[in-house]
Symmetry: C2
DNA sequence: ATCAATTTGTAACGTTATAACAATTACGAC
DNA sequence: GTCGTAATTGTTATAACGTTACAAATTGAT
């Protein structure tokens, strides 16, 4: 049986919006979608996003200022905390689809690069831009639409 | 002998501001600094930044919305075009110092991760947050000041 | 019931980035 | 020279992204 929360669960609403799509959504896109549910202020959205980020349920794509649900490497949600090294994303510049990957040897390369500069790493951001498999078949790219 | 440009060389002014420091500057910080030189509008700054990015003279740090001069891996400017795979940055969360590195094996890991998802990479973003050598010695971190 | 702690809401503001269009400068053709 | 054109720069306004400060509501204890 599903519990009906006494308070509105903004984080839950956002998680639901992000689930089921590989397209990132900006905070203001989410705000628009949650307006019918009574969410009217950016603050509310950003607070909920913060919680979801902290719990690892979503990820922020820095180069898009947007957010995606965590899907793990294989489509199944995994249990990394936030900020771990060795995870990354591919971002299609044509259709905006984002895929997540986790790669231990990428992680070790990042740690090695940090070590080479006597740098103590705490988190890393890896975002690969290009064309997804579907879009690569459809002729040359068109910037970042 | 140095050529005196007939037009104001906004890109040159920005390059001069960014040279000689490892601290990233935002577009609006640069605007403030260029105000005495007669630059008053964000547009002007962003246009100049665009050119500098295209020519590889500066890099954009996505996670800070800020810009640093290209210094290459060893402190000497190198000649990568923009968007190449395999370059990355360390970003100190305490003092904001940014260092650039280039790592062929990191590049090959990124290409492999892309290939695993049938993704065609065109550019990559690698930013490692943590503490620089100087700051790591000074006690625990303090968020991202 | 009263209290303090937590969560949510509201309003205003600050920062980052772009769009649309006008004015100026450079430069070759005439 | 001056005309025409392309490239660059300037101006104004606006869009997009994010935070601060504080008020109101909910909760769970005492
Ligand atoms: Zn994830
Ligand atoms: Zn695509
Ligand atoms: Zn560089
Ligand atoms: Zn530091």
């Amino acid at each position: 049986m599903t519990e009906k929360p006494k308070r509105r669960d903004t984080a839950g609403l956002i998680a639901a919006e992000l689930a089921g799509t590989a397209k990132p959504h900006t905070a203001y896109e989410l705000l628009e979608r949650l307006r019918p549910s009574g969410v009217f202020a950016p603050t509310t959205v950003y607070r909920a996003l913060e919680k979801l980020l902290a719990s690892g349920k979503i990820h922020r794509i820095e180069s898009l200022n947007a957010f995606v649900a965590c899907r793990g490497a294989e489509g199944a949600p995994h249990d990394h905390g936030h900020g771990e090294l060795g995870i990354g994303f591919t971002v299609c510049d044509r259709c905006a689809a984002v895929a997540e990957f986790e790669d231990a040897s990428l992680q070790s390369r990042i740690e090695a690069a940090a070590a080479a500069g006597a740098f103590v790493p705490r988190s890393s951001i890896v975002e690969i831009h290009g064309l997804c498999a579907a879009c690569a078949g459809e002729g040359p790219a068109a910037g970042r639409p």
